[in-house]
């Protein structure tokens, strides 16, 4: 006879989770004395009340999250006991200075964006979904800040981690991450918090961010990042469920379809432009692991974005009468596979190393061999650049950007904030009488037509606008490089040695100081372009689109 279990002895009648969720959905009511204001409006009209597919109940949520936290923090302790940092690859950890400076703000912005959805999504069924996502995002933001602190306390070169949130506000690279995060919390509530954040960023791109990238971390001896980020990713299914429930409500009203098509285009392209640039660089150029059997970023993209998202999630939307822009997905794929998007991004970050707040290790012969195997023809295009970078990595040289190697500092895209790296796709346009530069025609469309007061004749009063000093280069136009770095605060505790270095030498004699970077002028390509005569500008654009050829020094 089988033993009787404790739970059998103590079994009590319970209400099921589904029933609990249904009753929780009845906790809200429609105000009759005073109507709540809609602070964050939308141009969408949602009539159908979305249902919570995850049937979330806080009674079970909190113990589950607490347990997840215990496991994460226990694993960090185990990492230290196992002397993880002795074997970790500094090349990898250096890139975490950039990644972890960016990611906590998008995370907490996602928490804030739940406020926007809460007001515009009808019914109360998803209220617990918004609450758990809000609390999840607080978790993600703070657990990532804690991971960064842990790196700072235990990694050989803590500088860069120590200034992290200041650097996030100032760096020319983190502006790309701010574009990502501000997209979650501004403008039309549904565009921002549902389509851009949940339907695209979380459903598609958290897979490359929080699954593909941690795998590469593990290959570089970093077991902490996978521990934290896979735990983070385990929360995402709830958010994807929220997003899909609202998407179904949107689809229910055909009047929404035009806006939905606009937002899917904008959101997919921006996510591609921003996330693939950053994560592609970390995965391909932050690793020391050159196992040819592992997937390249292009292969990972094909798995997670093309198959898992585009084919399984986006394509089925066509049956609701939504036009899916297959050509955009193909164009993104081509940019990664045929147009070297990730390789040009890594080249850009490394060319701009003096204004970074992390070190960038040069590529070696082992790297060259792997790149050539995974991306045939890579060496012919990028080999000379990285050889020059290595040769110019010590401070007895000028910074590589000011050496005549043939490299042309790129224009910045006004829309996605990533530079216009694929030169042949570079476009300019005039919006409200001002000239702007874009990395692609879709980014031009995003600025000129999507973020506007009307879309294809339909008023869109809730849509956001691009604003601020969007191009970092305009702030330091005409500045001396040394003064710029000082102004940024990217200088070490002696007041002289730079935080960024184009190498991994942990040796004062090989580290660049302010004196090594004085006398080099920073320019804003956009301001220079605007200052040109129409003829000169046309010529410049034609030259830019031709690209450049790197000379070996």
């Amino acid at each position: 006879m089988a033993a009787t279990t404790l739970s059998k002895i103590t079994k009590q009648k319970k209400i099921s989770n589904a029933e609990a969720s249904r009753r929780i959905g009845d906790l809200g009511w429609t105000p009759t004395y005073v109507q709540a204001l809609v602070k964050y409006p939308t141009d969408y009209v949602l009539n159908k009340i979305p249902k919570d597919p995850m049937r979330q109940v806080l009674r079970s949520y909190f113990p589950m999250q607490d347990e997840k936290d215990n496991r994460v923090f226990g694993a960090l302790d185990a990492g230290l006991r196992g002397d993880m940092f002795r074997n970790v690859e500094p090349r990898w950890i250096e890139w975490m200075k950039l990644f972890l400076a960016i990611i906590p703000f998008p995370e907490i912005s996602a928490a804030r964006s739940m406020a926007m959805l809460s007001h515009v999504v009808p019914g109360d069924n998803l209220q617990t979904g918004f609450a758990t996502q809000m609390i999840d995002e607080l978790r993600h933001s703070t657990i990532q800040m804690n991971l960064k602190k842990w790196y700072m306390e235990n990694y050989v070169d803590p500088t860069g981690f120590d200034i992290t949130e200041m650097a996030f506000g100032k760096c020319y690279a983190t502006t790309i991450g701010r574009q990502f995060a501000e997209g979650f919390i501004t403008g039309d509530a549904i565009t921002a918090a549902n389509i851009y954040l949940t339907v695209v960023a979380e459903t598609a791109y958290t897979n490359t961010l929080f699954v593909a990238m941690p795998s590469e971390a593990a290959r570089n001896g970093d077991y902490a990042l996978p521990t934290v980020f896979l735990s983070v990713q385990s929360d995402e299914s709830r958010h994807i469920g929220n997003g899909h429930a609202i998407l179904m409500s949107i689809l229910d009203n055909p009047d929404n379809h035009l806006l939905l098509e606009r937002d899917l285009r904008y959101a997919f392209w921006q996510n591609h432009a921003i996330v693939d640039a950053a994560i592609g660089t970390f995965v391909e150029y932050g690793t020391k692991n050159r196992d040819k059997g592992k997937e390249s970023y292009a292969e990972l993209w094909h798995r997670w974005i093309y198959n898992d998202y585009y084919r399984s999630y986006m394509l089925p939307l066509e049956k609701y009468g939504i036009k899916i822009h297959h050509d955009d997905v193909e164009a993104a794929w081509d940019r990664i596979v045929k147009k070297d998007y990730v390789h040009y991004t890594a080249q850009f970050f490394s060319a701009g190393w003096p204004v970074n707040f992390w070190r960038i290790d040069g590529m070696t012969e082992a790297d060259f061999e792997w790149f050539e195997a995974k991306y045939p023809g890579w060496y012919a295009k990028f080999g000379a650049y990285w050889e020059n970078y290595r040769d110019l990595s010590l401070p007895n040289n000028p910074p590589s950007l000011w050496v005549d190697t043939g490299y042309v500092y790129p224009h910045r895209c006004w829309s996605c904030m990533v530079p216009c790296l694929i030169r042949e796709d570079f476009v300019v346009d005039t919006v409200d009488g001002e000239l702007y530069t874009y990395c692609s025609d879709l980014c031009r469309w995003t600025h000129k037509y999507a973020f506007a007061a009307e879309y294809e004749g339909r008023p869109t009063p809730a849509m956001g606008r691009f604003s601020g000093k969007r191009q970092w280069e305009t702030i330091y136009h005409g500045w001396d490089l040394a003064d710029c770095i000082k102004d940024l605060g990217f200088v070490r505790s002696d007041g002289k040695t730079l935080i960024p270095q184009p190498h991994l030498h942990m040796d004062d004699s090989k580290m660049w100081k302010l004196e090594h970077v004085r006398g080099f002028e920073l320019r804003s390509p956009l301001l220079d372009l605007r200052a040109m005569t129409p003829e000169a500008r046309e010529k410049h654009i034609a030259e830019y689109k031709k690209g450049f050829t790197i000379k070996r020094i």
Partner: protein, 354 residues
């Protein structure tokens, strides 16, 4: 070249020992973990955000906008939450509460505790504790929206955790009453609470007040109205001044224990609110302005909540054992709000008498 170890101290060079976040000033002698994971995560153009906010709303308003509150500050970043909550201690506390409730209710149900509740008390649980879960949920919902708009991460996270506590407590009440109903074979009508919340004159003052708070556009006004005024005069009055006092004398040792978790939450949320509004009231530049703003809020919300409190009075007469008096509970509520205002250092205007 020998592989460089990645371990701290394996090489000595400039900056090798810079192992603390150095871009903000801790409140105390040393930075706390709460501060390290919280301060400056939401950037600010007046600190390090040199490019300003780069996406605006259609009217040009930036992502975070000082104009969304009447409060002014010469240093929005001064506030640190006294409860120092970030994700780990928030989850730990919330989880601990859920586990505690589980132990209490499992044990009580095993003993058939609900069958020993006095019959009239069951009706009070059904009608009025059942009604209470709705304002608790409503406050959580208002705060969920309010956590979007503060000018710093510290402010918004305090509002966020406050929302989390209120929503959890509302759900705990709902699930507890559902279990009581199960144990009493449906003798407790679960739908009655909402009906009382929506239609019973006893609760209409409370509903009017909360809907007024929900209709405000100023997130700090909502945070103030909820913690300083509404909780003290309405929800705490009922939780602490009635349910927790009366339960045991009607054979109910369970409900007061569950309600006690909500009281514990409120003590933390109120401590945060007092600290925040104390800072605003003593702002070197805008202190007088902020005190006037808060007094304006008191003029709006105190009369509403006083009326709401007085409308709740008949509940105290519905118990079989009449040892607890409304007047005593209300005195304690008055003392609570007076004490809170004294700590913030804001005088109660004459138009807002208790």
């Amino acid at each position: 070249m020998e592989k460089q170890s990645g371990a701290a101290g394996s090489a000595i060079f400039v900056g090798w020992d810079s192992r603390q976040y150095n871009y903000y000033t801790p409140k105390g002698r040393k930075a706390t973990l709460y501060e390290d994971v919280t301060v400056d995560v939401q950037p600010d153009p007046e600190r390090y955000l040199i490019q300003d906010w780069i996406i605006s709303f259609a009217n040009g308003a930036p992502a975070y906008n000082k104009a969304l509150t009447a409060i002014k500050s010469s240093n929005w970043h001064e506030y640190r939450a006294p409860d120092e909550e970030h994700e780990r201690n928030h989850f730990a506390r919330q989880s601990e509460i859920e586990e505690t409730i589980k132990i209490i209710t499992t044990s009580a149900r095993a003993q058939g505790a609900a069958r020993n509740y006095e019959t009239g008390w069951v009706k009070i649980l059904q009608d009025h504790v059942g009604a209470l879960k709705h304002p608790e949920h409503g406050l959580g919902g208002i705060l969920l929206v309010a956590q979007r708009d503060g000018m710093t991460q510290m402010i918004n996270n305090s509002i966020l955790t406050n929302s989390s506590y209120k929503l959890r407590f509302a759900q705990d009440l709902l699930l507890y009453l559902a279990e009581v109903s199960l144990d009493l074979d449906g003798a407790l009508d679960e739908g009655a609470g909402k009906d009382h919340w929506l239609n019973d004159p006893i609760w209409q003052g409370a509903r009017r007040a909360i809907e007024t708070i929900g209709g405000a556009s100023d997130h700090l006004e909502q945070y103030f109205a909820i913690n300083v005024v509404y909780e003290a005069l309405v929800t705490e009055l009922f939780r602490s001044g009635f349910v927790m006092q009366c339960g045991a004398m009607h054979g109910d040792f369970v409900t007061p224990a569950i309600v006690a978790t909500g009281e514990g939450d409120y003590e933390r949320n109120l401590a945060n609110a007092i600290e925040m509004f104390h800072i605003f009231a003593h702002d070197p530049t805008y202190g007088a302005h902020n005190q006037a703003v808060m007094q304006g809020w008191l003029v709006t919300y105190v009369p509403l909540c006083v009326a709401a409190a007085r409308q709740l009075q008949p509940i105290w007469s519905q118990t079989q054992v009449k040892r607890v008096k409304f007047v005593d509970a209300y005195e304690r509520a008055k003392h609570r709000i007076s004490n809170t205002l004294a700590q913030i250092d804001v005088a109660l205007p004459k138009e807002a008498q208790l």
